[in-house]
């Protein structure tokens, strides 16, 4: 039975373990953006015994490089859809192991080592519709600030306060199930039929 839940960040491991692939989640509270450069730099810091500027423990990391606009001293969000998560495939298992986020939001899914790390450390992957950036921005109430802005607007850590942010689909749960892996299996079965149709079987 699919369930629909509203969760407030930070999220306990107990709450995350209750989620199953296919469930729908809406979020409230702080969400941090982070993509390629944030993963690289945060892990480099950790290697040298330093900490990144925000506490990722049981937090929500959003694979997103938003468009922000500065009005006076404050930043306002313009558009904030997800980026392709698979670019972070090689860095995510180590990121999860080091910083213990509760959830990662993105699009397109992630590979087996990340699925394994999520099972081990009690995290989930939440899929949001790629390209639907204005809709996503509606769920962000306030931008609290930015860290590592020198990495460029898309690559910085943006601290965003969400309210009823979603719908997000639990696409990888903390029990090893991935909706994308299910679809991959279906696609593999369909390939022969498609090849026949194209006269290339």
């Amino acid at each position: 039975m699919k369930m629909q839940v509203r969760l407030k960040t930070p999220i306990s491991e107990q709450d995350i373990r209750k989620l199953n692939a296919g469930d729908i989640v809406y979020l409230d509270g702080i969400v941090y953006t982070g993509r390629d450069e944030v993963h690289i730099h945060a892990l480099e810091k950790a290697e040298h015994g330093d900490k990144p500027p925000v506490d990722f423990n049981r937090s929500v990391l959003y694979h997103c490089g938003p468009i922000m606009k500065k009005q006076g001293e404050a930043w306002t969000l313009v558009a904030a859809g997800p980026t392709t998560s698979s670019r972070m495939n090689s860095l995510e298992p180590k990121f999860i192991e080091t910083f213990h986020p509760a959830a990662i939001i993105g699009k397109g899914g992630m590979s087996q080592p990340t699925i394994d790390a999520m099972s081990k450390h009690g995290a989930v992957y939440l899929a949001i519709t790629g390209g639907a950036a204005v809709l996503a921005a509606k769920g962000v109430k306030k931008v609290h600030g930015v860290h590592w802005f020198e990495l460029g607007m898309p690559e910085a850590i943006w601290v965003m306060e969400t309210e009823n942010f979603g719908p997000l689909i639990v696409a990888i749960d903390s029990h090893g199930k991935s909706l994308f892996a299910d679809i991959d299996a279906i696609v593999k079965k369909n390939v022969d039929k498609v090849k026949k149709k194209l006269n290339i079987a």
């Binding site: 397109g108 390209g131 639907a132 204005v134 696609v187 498609v194 194209l198």
Partner: protein
């Protein structure tokens, strides 16, 4: 009179229209897909996509945060004595601030971001001189998620049509859920490695409801679209009947010993726009009439 300032203003308006409102051919195909789907997951994704398009247009907000790098296609009258490129560069710089666009252009190795989408050879401008009296500027604002899935193959002539179709299929399979499907595939066949890649991207400038004028190529486009939609990758890779919105193929004659093929993968947010600037300075936006 067409001045640099006229071009700059035209480019700002062109970018604003292009990133906030999609062309009818793609929107209609997305709406048709929403009607066709029966499963919950693709229906939910398409609903979000269509709602987002509506919101973006109503609020003149970029529909996707990835406003791409700006690649321009310019057709210019022979006697135009104005620095078109300067007008385009200043247009991009201004649009980045006022639309706003996301500053995406970085140095490829240091990854340093100047913050204004302008750098060495970016914006990138393709030129053509034509015999009309007006200047036409087309822009494609394409995100990296789909561009990263694009591929080039130097096939052998013996691999033939079969090899071309296999390569296109494999490109779609390899891309999977990553490029924000349903995608539009721009395919360039022939020429040389660089020409095939260029044709693949240019193929995306043609509306998806307009088949190639060569009937054999048009049939290939239609067959590929129908077959690829049976793969089941679906909207955002979450399954369903819509993996591609369209397949556009362009070709050029090539060396008897080679068969280059390039596939440029375009996300569902296939944003393109054209402005025409007439000798009296008046402008028309043929891709964005009405609204």
């Amino acid at each position: 009179m067409i001045s640099e300032k006229t071009i700059q203003d035209a480019v700002v308006e062109l970018l604003r229209k292009t990133v906030t409102r999609m062309t009818d051919d793609v929107v209609n195909e997305l709406k048709a897909a929403a009607k066709r789907e029966t499963e919950d997951a693709p229906k939910m994704q398409l609903k979000a996509i269509l709602e987002n398009l509506d919101l973006a247009e109503k609020t003149t907000t970029p529909l996707c945060q990835d406003t791409g790098v700006t690649i321009f296609y310019v057709s210019m009258p022979q006697c135009l004595k104005v620095d078109v490129e300067k007008g385009i560069i200043e247009g991009v710089r201004t649009a980045t601030k006022v639309v706003p666009l996301r500053p995406n252009a970085v140095h490829p190795l240091t990854r340093k971001n100047p913050g204004d989408n302008v750098g060495r050879k970016m914006p990138y401008v393709n030129y053509k001189v034509w015999d009309k009296d007006y200047l036409e500027i087309t822009v494609m604002t394409k995100g990296a998620g789909s561009e990263n899935m694009s591929q080039l193959a130097m096939l052998t002539p013996s691999q033939g049509v079969k090899g071309v179709k296999e390569f296109i299929l494999n490109t779609v399979l390899r891309a999977g859920s990553n490029p924000c499907p349903p995608t539009v595939l721009g395919v360039g066949i022939g020429g040389s490695s660089d020409i095939a890649a260029k044709l693949a991207k240019e193929a995306l400038l043609r509306p998806i409801n307009k088949p190639n004028e060569d009937p054999e190529i048009a049939t290939m486009e239609k067959d590929l679209k129908e077959a690829l939609n049976e793969l089941g990758i679906g909207v955002m890779g979450l399954g369903g009947k819509t993996t591609v919105l369209g397949v556009n193929i362009e070709y050029a004659f090539c060396h008897t010993a080679s068969l280059p093929v390039a596939v440029n993968v375009q996300c569902w947010a296939a944003r393109r726009g054209t402005v025409q600037i007439f000798p009296d300075g008046k402008m028309k936006f043929p891709t964005h009439e009405g609204g």
